[in-house]
Amino acid sequence: MPDALMLLAAVAASVAGMGWLALAMDVHWEQVRGDAPRRPACVACLRALGALALAASLALCLAVDHPSMAALVWVMALAAGALAVAMTLAWRPHWLAVLVMRAPGRVGA
């Protein structure tokens, strides 16, 4: 796979990972899914998924660049991912529903 695509995937993994970590939090789950119930196991599952995605992002970075550079790319990709998720939660929270395999419908609609 070309480097550019791998890096794109690394950034995407970082955004998804941050998204899952956010969904593991009650406030953000409500913003995205409204009253939809969530089992405690689901929280643990979301956290694990988030951590895995962030690790995958690191692996992708390492596959493309020298480790010294990959580390920088990863840390910055994490920041970009967190910012992207925070901004989505602020303006279009229901978009994050795709991360839990739901169509991004408006909450309560």
Partner: protein
């Protein structure tokens, strides 16, 4: 003095943040622009809009250039007080010739250092520099300012304030305070994980500003920390000038040891010697890099003690694919071309130092990381700007009641440093396109336009923040947002009118340096216009609310 540690930290964060926040805003914003300094140079100097070039042939192109160089009258005058006796007419004893290039440079900067007879410090050299077209060796006009790499970039680390090197010291202090602000900010922030993703734009301005301040501060915390820290590391030699003060004898001794170890002479032999083909040395260096599995281009080429039997040529590999700027130096005897010394792999300490400076200076090829750095820098700007807005929002009503103008002054300064800085930057780019091509000292005029535009923005900010003293929103923010939007569009249009390089052409040709600068300005214009409209709506909303209250009171 303070009831608890957290309050002490809050005091530190608030007041140091306010005072040095204005400096940090400049450092962060021009740092973010410096990520693309060379691309901004291309925008500002249309004659240099061609593809990046590798290091040219020394024997054919560089040698005649170096031989024709002499220090400018300006640098001779600056040197005069540090010399006993008169200054010579010509400088012929070359201590060093050098040329540095990266994968983003179409034009090549070269420098020459000469010995100065009777200098009070015999180690001090006088320098000449020139920028050439590496394809032909032709010199570019000296007074054409490289806006990106010679104005925005030094503004980032020295504020272009060179009296007593005070600019460096102010920025250094700001970086130190920034580190303290990061630590104290983390201490103050009670819900660092619970509110990690929290931004509530629909709450009050004060709350939204604090959310955004925390968000941009926390998610980019590693970036903020590392850049403040590595910035200090890069200038450590300036902040702690020990090598040439307390440790001077040790430094001299170290130089002698180094000479013995590497066989590279520190001083001239005093015996003239010819110069062998440097191109052949470059070919040999590239062959050796390739044999180590690190084929690469030349990043830095330097000739020491030119014309002397002790002369040697150092060739360094460009650090395009790694963090370190250059490396794998190979040194040749200038008169014969034999290899004197190959730099061993760097020690652990040297590698860390190279990594720390390299990650900040980023001469590597990695466009994604470059853009992520811009994002980090702009996140820092948002963090500082929202910090200033929060400071004002928190106090303005109280100050209005007390009749104090503290919040108003802080708000005027915030407008000056946030939108005023954008006005100054765009003012400079517009001046760059409007000033006559052959105006003498054109670069100086561009700088006057920059500072002039900033002063105007400041005057406007102080004039149009009067409502803050009554606890209302300053119109200065909205008006300067409109100015930024209009100026950004004007700069893009002027680039089209004066050079013919409109976006359709640069995008079709894939010429990203100019297309990128234009697109960046258009996006900024759109964002500024959007912000101005939102601010306008907020003012009207507040006015309607007041009118309704007044109406209700009358009824």
């Amino acid at each position: 003095m303070f009831a608890n540690f957290r309050l002490a930290m809050a005091w530190l964060h608030t007041w140091f943040g306010l005072v040095l926040g204005f400096v940090l805003m400049v450092v962060f914003f021009f740092g973010a622009l410096s990520v693309f300094d060379r691309e901004i140079d291309r925008w500002g100097i249309p004659a240099s809009r061609f593809e990046p070039q590798p290091m040219p042939s020394f024997d054919k192109v560089l040698k005649p250039v170096f031989e024709s160089m002499q220090p400018t009258q300006e640098s001779i005058d600056r040197m005069r007080p540090r010399v006993d006796g008169p200054m010579p007419e010509r400088y012929d004893t070359v201590r060093r010739w050098g040329a540095y290039t990266t994968h983003r440079d179409p034009v090549l900067g070269v420098f020459a250092g000469y010995e100065v007879p009777n200098a009070k410090d015999p180690d001090e050299a006088i320098f000449a520099s020139r920028t050439i077209d590496p394809r032909t060796g032709a010199a570019l006009p000296d007074d054409r300012l490289k806006i990106g790499s010679r104005f925005f970039y030094p503004l980032h680390y020295s504020l272009n304030f060179h009296w007593l090197d005070l600019g460096y010291w102010i920025v250094g202090l700001a970086a130190l305070v920034m580190l303290a602000a990061l630590v104290s900010g983390v201490v103050m922030h009670r819900k660092i994980f619970r509110e990690f993703f929290t931004f509530r734009p629909r709450k009050s301005t004060q709350r939204s500003a604090l959310d955004l301040h925390n968000l941009t501060g926390v998610v980019a915390l590693p970036f903020h920390f590392f850049f403040a820290f590595t910035g200090l590391v890069i200038f450590a030699g300036l902040y702690f000038p020990v090598t040439h003060t307390q440790l001077h004898p040790l430094h001299e001794l170290h130089e002698q040891h180094e000479e013995q170890e590497t066989g590279l002479p520190q001083d001239r032999a005093g015996v003239p010697a010819p110069l062998a083909s440097v191109d052949a040395m470059v070919a040999e260096a590239q062959r050796r890099w390739a044999s180590r599995g690190m084929a690469g281009e030349v990043g830095f080429l330097a000739l020491q003690h030119v014309g002397d039997a002790n002369g040697y040529v150092s060739i360094y590999r460009a650090g395009t694919d790694r963090i370190a700027l250059t490396g794998e130096g190979i040194h040749f005897k200038a008169s014969t071309g034999e290899v004197l010394h190959e730099d061993p792999p760097p020690t652990a300490v040297a590698s860390v130092a190279e990594f720390l400076t390299g990650l900040h200076l980023q001469h590597f090829r990695h466009w994604l990381l470059r853009w992520l750095y811009v994002l980090g820098g702009l996140a820092g700007c948002v963090c500082i700007a929202t910090g200033l807005v929060f400071f004002v929002e928190k106090r303005k009503r109280q100050h209005a009641k007390q009749g104090s103008s503290g919040a108003r002054v802080a708000d005027a300064m915030a407008v000056t440093t946030v939108t005023g800085m954008l006005v100054a930057t765009l003012g400079m780019l517009i001046a760059n396109r409007l000033l006559p091509e052959n105006l003498p000292n054109r670069g100086d005029w561009e700088q006057y336009c920059f500072w002039g535009a900033w002063l105007l923005a400041m005057a406007h900010a102080f004039w149009r923040t009067a409502p803050v003293a009554e606890g209302r929103l300053a119109p200065a923010w909205r008006e300067q947002c409109w100015a930024v939007a209009a100026m950004a569009v004007a700069a893009v249009l002027l680039n089209w009118l004066t050079t013919g390089d409109h976006l359709l052409r640069t995008l079709a040709a894939g010429y990203w340096p100019v297309a990128g600068v234009d697109l960046f300005m258009l996006v900024s214009a759109a964002l500024a216009a959007y912000a101005a409209r939102r601010l306008g709506r907020r003012v009207r909303g507040a006015a309607d609310a007041r009118a309704m209250v007044a109406e209700a009171a009358r009824a």
